[in-house]
């Protein structure tokens, strides 16, 4: 079995539920050791795709490989290498935290002294040490998420699939959980993270796939997507000391790479298609023609803007 550098490979994946095409011909790769965001609105097909990757669902067509193993033909091998945390974390409410972890250690064939050391490492990493004797049903949502993450780590998987891990968490728990994910990446794990809370993903994701209505609309690193999306153009917002007159638009139209966008009081904006260093010519001309520049802001496309540009918000 070939172990590719790509830890997760998805090719032409399609899943249909009756008349609804939940996932339509989806393809993407996830390299080792990165945090890959899987972004899409509710009902876009994220969870269905994740269920196929996690060997819980048989696709209608296409294929998925985890560490080079096909999820259909070698599900047992895939499960050994994969830790899955579903969107709705189910816990055995009668068990204590230590019993819960002990159970999942046994289901992962971790016995004896190895079990002890692995559980102690996992507990330390997820900071569950003080909660070991607590009953699972007495834990807060954030603690349960950490507990579920802990159980996915017991067998030392190479790939972690986390489906909406931050949903329903308070800001503090979100930050703690984000730090935990970054720590896991530092330890060499690959993390495949689905979410529709973009502010959670943008600071930590190395690459993303954006899915809408079952189709991948963008795939790659944030920088790559940004470049591709805006086709080399940048938007500038300028604040003048005094509100400009209608002659400003005529004046700016003389620049070949500039497209005037709008004015609003003392502010105006334009799109620049030329090289970034050439835009200084615009500032010089404006100054020499009596316009006093009070401030300049270049708009960067963050994940939210990219997401909004690429998706229509429609669900199936």
């Amino acid at each position: 079995m070939d172990i590719n550098s790509e830890i997760l490979q998805v090719r032409n994946l399609s899943v249909r539920f009756g008349k609804v095409q939940a996932v339509d011909n989806v393809s993407f790769d996830v390299p080792r050791g990165v945090i890959h965001g899987f972004i899409g609105p509710n009902g876009a097909g994220k969870t269905t795709s994740i269920r196929v990757i996690s060997t819980l669902q048989v696709p209608d067509s296409g294929g998925v490989w985890v560490c080079g193993y096909n999820v259909l033909t070698h599900p047992a091998e895939v499960r050994k290498r994969l830790g899955y945390m579903p969107d709705h974390v189910g816990v055995y409410s009668g068990l204590s935290v230590s019993e819960y972890l002990d159970f999942f250690a046994l289901t992962r064939r971790v016995y004896g002294t190895k079990k002890k050391s692995v559980l102690s490492d996992v507990v330390e990493l997820t900071d569950l040490g003080d909660l070991l004797d607590r009953e699972v049903n007495s834990l807060s949502k954030g603690m349960r998420q950490r507990l579920c993450l802990a159980q996915t780590l017991i067998h030392e998987p190479e790939l972690l699939i986390l489906d909406e891990p931050a949903s329903g968490l308070d800001p503090r728990a979100r930050i703690e959980f984000r730090d935990l994910i970054l720590e896991l990446r530092r330890l060499g794990k690959t993390i495949f993270l689905s979410s529709h809370i973009l502010s959670e993903l943008s600071p930590i994701c190395d690459s993303v796939s954006i899915i809408e209505k079952g189709e991948i609309v963008a795939n790659g690193t944030l920088t790559e997507i940004q470049k591709k999306l805006v086709s080399g153009s940048s938007t500038f917002k300028v604040l003048l000391l005094q509100a400009p007159g209608p002659e400003l638009e005529k004046f700016l139209s003389e620049f070949p790479h500039l497209r005037f966008l709008s004015t609003e009081g003392k502010k105006f904006s334009f799109e620049w298609n030329g090289a970034d260093e050439d835009v200084s010519q615009v500032w010089k001309s404006l100054s020499s023609n009596g316009y006093v520049l009070s401030g300049i802001h270049k708009e960067e496309d963050d994940l939210e803007n990219i997401f909004m540009s690429l998706t229509t918000g429609e669900v199936q």
Binding site: E6, Q9, R51, T73, P75, P86, G90
Partner: protein
Amino acid sequence: MNKGMIAKFFGFAMVQKDLILTLKKNRWLLIQFLYLSIFGIVLAFFVNSTGLGFRRYEDPVSVVTENFVSLYFSLQFLVIGLVFPFLSGNSITSERIDKTWPLLKCTELSPFEIIRGKYFALISLSIYIMMLSAPLLMLTTLIGGVSLFSVVFEYLIHIAYAALICAAGLFSSAMSSNATRSNLQIVAMFSMPVLFATVFALNAYSNGELLSSVLGPSSNYLSSKEVLIYWFLGFFVLVAGLLGASFSISPVNSLRSIPLRIYIFAFYLFGIFAFFELLAANVPGSVSVRNYSQNWTIYMVGMVLSSLPLLRIAAEDPGVPLSAALLTKEKPLLGRILYPFVSGGIRNLLFSFAVLSLFLILLKVGSVVDLSKLGSNVDSGLVHAVMLQSEGSFIVWISWLCSMVAIAWCLAHAGFGSILSASVTFSFQLVLVLSMAIVYVANVDAVPTYSMFSTPFTYFLVMSKEVFPSSGTTMFTYLLSRGDFLLNTGTTFFFIGLGTYFGGRNQRPLLSLAPESRKGLLLDPPGLPLQEQESGVHLSRESVRPNEKSTTTGGLDE
């Protein structure tokens, strides 16, 4: 056998988890309280009714002990029938409701291991609850009247009863996605057999007997061979429950059909030989024509029910499971050996036919029966005629089941779901049976019992002709005179043809083990990473098909 293997065999992880969860629940405390209350109430009522301890009782001590033990066991039998169907019937459903099921399925536990673990946990609980009263009950044996062995054997029978219920309950639970469905299914599945078993047990207990005197090695009613057969049948039913449950939770692309089909084949074979033995042993000398005929009627009723799993198998997904296709590719010899037991294509139909054809063994019963041993007041000519007539209608019956199986198979190939195809066919069969039952009730004197289990054609034929052929008539000439046999055979061939046509049109595999029905699935590892193939980021709604040539269904078709 190392620790890991033992843990794996007993599903130790599941046993441990389920026991902790159940024993911690208030419900379990309530069950224990209920159980001990019953014990206390029995004791109190018994002491009161016999006057034990207040005045001298009339009966000898041994009789009092016997009655007490019988009364206690009859109540315990009732409690098992009430508690364990619901305890086992929610075992897997509760995992689904609590959303822990996906986590469990993502672990390294196989479906059968999950079922085994849950099963052993349930058995442990049943033994635990029964053992609560055991010490006190054992003490009663010191008084006399009941032997220690019979009490121990009685416990064993009760544990076996709980084991059977738990296996069937797990099966029901594995098939249900929510609690309501599970509970309804449990009531539907358990009411009849539990009622039957309870009436049977209470009948024995009310006569001051223990079940061990009926089903034990020194049974008062059954020969040792018959006892063995009953225990074997019980064991088979138990295994069926566990295998069925594993089947229900296994992924569709797995080899789940193979063990179940092998088991079903063995089960039918065993059942037929068991009946063969019992019938043949019972007929000579001891019975009348009426008994012989009744045996056949009971058997035919059994066949109505037995057709249900066969219809389900015939109507299974026509596609070949992916794992089966891979097995054939990687281990051709094993693939060839297991070929008849792999689901998909014409094998679904042929397997059902093969099981039905096993019933033909029963036609040999006639040659085993020694007519000379019949009593002098029995007309041996008439017995022979009844045998021929029964056997003839039996073949017609099989032909009818074959036609039903062919209809189910055809519907599945036409694109209906497997459960829908089986249900529609079974409903059709039930409507016919009910119609004929009404006809039978209306003409009870003129029509033999079996006619209610045959096609309407039989009715008209039976009404218009002499019911029994003469003793000189061979079975086959009799069969040929039966229009419904021809009708059923014609129907069978018609639906096989139609199913084949639909299969061809929908590109279903008929004979091969190649996964044609899953043509779109990519199996070989993709060559280059997506980025390299696409030279940069992919940013369009139209997905790319990387390395399409090398990522078709792999070498499976070759």
